[in-house]
């Protein structure tokens, strides 16, 4: 579970976030929407602990996994090898079987598992990164612009995977510009503008066009 209460953060005299409160419960997916400079990435960095808030409190329960926009893994190693190596760093030794099971769980095609990562698509690398998070029994997933550069089918597959994770009990926060992705994936949308939370609502079946309208209004 992620909980932000009255968070403010400024870089020098420039306020980046003002009095932000958010909550993502287990089993739910929250989409953080906003233009460039609205404070999305700062929010993620605060939750990850890379930055400290000027005021307010952040509570995160459960292992946190961060999936950056461009997943950087070792291109010289296969997906399976990457998974096992990174899991080992976190203190978890996976057997080949366990590794393959995890990769299967994130829907990485079996034939790709022992191929070098250099030949993977962006979506496939994302899956390996999620598998790495799963290996650590992550309960909280932070995804930064996960759909940038993915084709619609890959976005759809990602949405399915995230939904699956949420159903297994994860709390998921993702930042995005992709309204279609939000419409098929998120439970809730929060709109940031100039560091303030300007709107927050349940998606509940609204399509991308409706979300766009809501977004333009909120700004």
């Amino acid at each position: 579970m992620i909980q932000l209460q009255n968070i403010s953060k400024a870089f020098g005299s420039r306020p980046v976030l003002q009095n932000l409160s958010l909550q993502v419960d287990r089993g739910r997916i929250l989409g953080l929407l906003g233009g460039n400079g609205a404070g999305k990435t700062t929010t993620l960095n605060l939750i990850l602990g890379f930055l400290q808030p000027d005021s307010g409190t952040i509570t995160v329960t459960g292992e946190t996994a961060y999936i950056p926009e461009n997943v950087a893994l070792y291109p010289e190693l296969s997906g399976l090898e990457n998974l096992r190596a990174f899991a080992a760093l976190a203190g978890r030794d996976l057997s080949t079987q366990e590794g393959e099971n995890l990769l299967a769980r994130v829907k990485l095609p079996a034939e790709a598992m022992s191929r070098r990562l250099a030949s993977y698509s962006k979506g496939m690398r994302q899956r390996v990164a999620i598998a790495i998070a799963l290996a650590r029994q992550a309960q909280v997933f932070l995804l930064d612009e996960p759909t940038t550069g993915l084709d619609p089918a890959a976005v759809h597959d990602l949405a399915t995977l995230l939904r699956q994770l949420a159903q297994d009990g994860a709390a998921i926060l993702l930042t995005t510009h992709d309204l279609w992705h939000l419409s098929i994936d998120s439970d809730e949308v929060a709109i940031l503008s100039a560091g303030r939370l300007v709107d927050r609502f349940e998606v509940a079946g609204q399509d991308a066009a409706q979300l766009a309208q809501r977004y333009m209004q909120a700004k």
Binding site: F86, L89, A90
Partner: protein
């Protein structure tokens, strides 16, 4: 549940990444090939030259013993040779031997004679270096570590993996230790290949090498650790792996290629040695003052003559119980050897100043420090050379004095230097017996070079830990 340290998994990961690159295998193949070639050629050459030297040594001894009956002073000018003891380890690091010579011709009244250095017979392009296994270690091994390791931290930051790595490791830390250890493990096959050359030499039947060879391997290990730590430190400070590579190459070039040459040039410019003509002219002048000990009527030796006569209570040299000419030769040799030692001490002082300057500059260059250690252990360094020259001169002196003694006791004054003595009397003069090179001799005075390696290791480790 306690989480195991990430150091070993990190190390394993790093080593694995190194061997996933095709370049690593290519480099290992090249390095092994070069090492084999250098070891083989250098070993072949040393073995042949050792055999040659042994044969000459035998021949010279045989010639000495098969001399006919001769006047002792004739034998003193016939002279003999001192051969520098050669260890097979010289195949690893030939050091300064090509420039210093390994043989010394010894005869009466002449010190520091022909030394048969081979350097003057080489082509000028050869001054670019000789491919010894030690050279490969000092230069190429370091460059291999640079090429394979420059990205160890910088590439992680550049690619963004660093965040994920840190996230996986969490607050336990160990990124620096793990990756650095991994880099060393990754390049360890190169170190192994490098260490094999001195170790292989042990199997060629020369005894007493094992301790020096193992210290040599230890120095080599330290050197590899040094470069691994240095590469890791630079890689952690630089933001991109390209910048890290550039900085490391500058360090490598500066310390390995430029500094040694510049040090040599500066040392000889700062402390110029007198040239040989000047040295000999001064020596000639000093020796001339002593008088000619071949000539028993030389006025310079009148006091000596009177002293000798007085001591034996006679008034004519003909009445002495021995040949006065032999006695005079001994006195003359002693005086000229003393003058030579005095003059040569001045030269040695300049040589020492030059060496000291190079030593001071070696603080800037680990490869110079390693070279110093390797040369010492292989017995091809300046100290071993000076020891050889000193011992050869001491031997020359006792050799000549022995002959003068024979002249004194076995020839008659009246015989005008044409009397021959029994050849068997020559046989009792023993060959030159140089002190064998030992580990303790090799290590004497090497503290500074170990300290250079230690200091660089400490600095690189501190820097790396701080920034990684």
């Amino acid at each position: 549940m306690p989480v195991p340290s990430p150091i070993l998994p990190l190390a394993r990961l790093e080593a694995r990444l190194i061997w996933r690159r095709r370049a690593s295998w290519l480099l290992l193949g090249l390095f092994t090939g070069l090492m084999l070639l250098a070891g083989l050629l250098s070993g072949l050459r040393q073995t042949r030259e050792r055999e040659q030297q042994a044969a000459y040594q035998k021949l010279v001894r045989q010639q000495w013993e098969s001399q006919p009956d001769r006047h002792p002073h004739r034998a003193a000018h016939y002279g003999t040779f001192a051969f520098k003891p050669r260890s097979l380890l010289a195949a690893y690091e030939p050091g300064i031997e090509a420039f210093a010579g390994r043989i010394q011709f010894l005869e009466a009244h002449r010190q520091n004679g022909a030394n048969f250095a081979e350097a003057s017979t080489l082509s000028s392009a050869s001054r670019l270096g000789e491919l010894s296994p030690a050279f490969l270690v000092e230069c190429v091994l370091a460059l291999v570590i640079v090429v394979l390791g420059h990205g160890v931290f910088a590439a992680e930051v550049e690619s963004g993996r660093e965040r994920l790595l840190r996230a996986q490791i969490g607050p336990r830390g160990g990124l620096w230790a793990g990756k650095t250890l991994g880099l060393w493990l990754g390049i360890s096959p190169f170190v192994l290949i490098a260490a094999l050359v001195p170790l292989t030499l042990l199997f060629f039947g020369e005894s007493g090498l094992a301790d020096r060879a193992s210290v040599l391997v230890a120095a080599l290990l330290l050197y590899s650790v040094l470069w691994v730590l240095l590469v890791a430190a630079v890689s952690s400070v630089c933001r991109t792996s390209q910048a890290a590579l550039a900085v490391l190459i500058c360090l490598w070039l500066g310390g390995g290629v430029l500094l040694p040459r510049a040090a040599a040039g500066l040392a000889s410019a700062a402390h110029p040695l007198p040239d040989k003509s000047e040295f000999n002219a001064r020596l000639g002048e000093e020796i001339a003052k002593l008088g000619d000990s071949h000539n028993d009527k030389d006025p310079a030796f009148i006091a000596f003559k009177e002293e000798t006569l007085r001591k034996h209570g006679v008034s004519r040299v003909e009445d002495l119980p021995f040949n006065y000419k032999g006695q005079l030769m001994m006195a003359g040799e002693e005086q000229s050897a003393k003058v030579f030692a005095q003059e040569h001490a001045k030269i040695e002082a300049v040589l020492d100043q030059q060496t000291a300057l190079v030593r001071r500059l070696a603080w800037l260059s680990p490869s110079l420090a390693l070279r110093d250690l390797a040369m010492r252990l292989c017995g091809t360094d300046a100290a071993a050379q000076q020891r050889f020259i000193r011992e050869a001169e001491a031997y020359r002196f006792s050799f000549i004095q022995h002959l003068n003694h024979l002249q004194r006791d076995h020839t008659a004054y009246a015989e005008k230097n044409v009397q021959r003595i029994d050849e068997h009397l020559f046989d009792e003069i023993e060959d030159f017996k140089p002190t064998p090179h030992t580990l303790s001799l090799a290590l004497a005075g090497s503290a500074a070079s170990w300290a250079v390696l230690g200091l660089w290791i400490a600095l690189a480790a501190l820097l790396g830990r701080r920034f990684a």
